[in-house]
Symmetry: C2
Subunit: 286 residues, 2 copies
């Protein structure tokens, strides 16, 4: 297991962690400057932030600072009407930004995210998702862009992602990429998987070849909001080092990406303070 | 599959559904009167409500109305310091009230429910829980009182129950009661398990012998509170009839128990209105 205590060379900042500080959007190019000023070497930006900053301007800024991506957020949402178009664009952008993978939040019951679920058949939503990944995978292979399925916590099964366990994600990987080519894998986010009694067995099953990204934050007790009350590493109950050790034992040697949606705490602070805290906690609690 | 549309003979009311209406506790004996007045035939009371009403007074009232129990809520919390004492009392009470089973909410990381988790080792919490069930099972067998492990939604893994899937619960059942004696089984609550990609496979694995209780409510989109924003059947995205059909296909022929914790909606209404709605929706949406 790598020693993270001395520096933060393996820290990546998911830019949603500092997307809106004290009620104001922090523009992506400024976030990248702030990361570079702290010797952060990698980020994972969100599509809407890139769109606001401009794709080319973002690419330039990344080059200027020598910043790498740990992933690109995100493709997926395969049950949406415009899924195909959106995913091809996401693929283009991921290639343009030299992302190591396009992260997939796969979508769930159509309409549920707006409180208007069109049906209750989660099995059919899962079939649509599987087919959507299969189709996108062909295009992604052509471009040499790996797809990382991110299983989301079961509390998001209705509205955000109907792939909810590593086991389920790996079943899809095994079906669509039985050769373990590297074109399809998973993003392991401790927030989504920490509770799973089969977590360690599934990390082993995934192996280094299938683990394309590793995300960290923490589970707070109590958690006051399903979406936007994630904790800073060390403030919650997830045994993050144990999970990281398991992932690295399979050969994962990439970035550890901090992704914290925190409406009432970390989004209410100065963005620089939040970044500094990420660095500090990454050295001590990851 | 039984026809629930013509009457509500298989409806049971978990008394937490109407425990505090418009900010005031509704006393259990009054709840039982209100249920009986509506020809509801079964209830599942909570220990604190029984304690407030008095065990003997509760037993008398149940007899007076000919009300059955569909379960007794609850034992478990095996990681608490006073677990043994509390569980033996719960067992006594369940026997006194002629419950068909004692429902177990098994507990999780000690202290987490108060925001002060003593450790982050969920595997060790699970071991404590397994041992606690094993010990309680001996006493429960002597009393002829079946224990129903209720897997709770993974969003409760930190603070309420570290058994979070039917698969996990059935693994414990198979280990501690390999003969499938009927002394140990599961409570299937649609709220906790609806998202699970292995749900139907695990209902089949459980079989009629292991399914000791069936609870219904609904998953709202959005869900605004992890604990107390459960929906009335029909208001959410759970395909309840499909799950009931699967459970009944295994031979389950018991009550369908409505258990809704609803801080902002159903607890804010007149208790009679909430009960009437339960009856109405039970006929149409379960």
């Amino acid at each position: 297991m790598r020693d993270f205590s001395r520096d933060h060379r393996w820290l990546s900042i998911n830019t949603a962690t500092v997307r809106k500080q004290r009620g104001q959007d922090w523009p992506l190019l400024q976030i990248l400057d702030a990361c570079a000023a702290r010797d952060i070497r990698a980020v994972s930006p969100w599509r809407d932030q890139v769109a606001a900053a401009g794709l080319q301007a973002t690419a330039r800024k990344l080059r200027e600072h020598g910043l790498k991506l740990s992933g690109y957020c995100r493709g997926g949402m395969f049950t949406d009407d415009d899924a195909t178009e959106q995913n091809l664009r996401a693929l283009d952008e991921a290639c343009e930004l030299n992302a190591p993978c396009l992260v997939l939040v796969v979508g769930a019951l159509p309409g549920a995210l707006n409180g208007q679920a069109q049906h209750k058949d989660i099995a059919s939503a899962r079939a649509v998702v599987r087919d959507g990944i299969a189709t996108l995978l062909e295009r992604a292979r052509e471009r040499g862009m790996p797809l990382a399925i991110e299983p989301l916590h079961p509390m998001f099964a209705a509205d955000r992602a109907c792939i909810n366990t590593l086991e389920q994600a790996l079943d899809v990987c095994d079906e669509l990429d039985p050769a373990r080519s590297g074109a399809l894998g998973v993003a392991v986010d401790v927030y989504h998987v920490w509770w799973d009694p089969k977590l360690y067995a599934m990390i082993e099953r995934a192996g280094g070849r299938r683990i394309l990204a590793f995300h960290v934050c923490d589970w707070l007790t109590p958690t006051t909001d399903l979406l936007n009350d994630r904790g800073m590493m060390g403030d919650g109950v997830i045994d993050i080092p144990r999970i990281r050790a398991a992932v690295e034992a399979q050969g994962y040697a990439g970035y550890s990406e901090v992704e914290i949606f925190s409406m009432h705490n970390w989004w209410q602070r100065d963005g620089g303070e939040t970044l500094d805290t990420c660095i500090h906690r990454h050295q001590r609690c990851v």
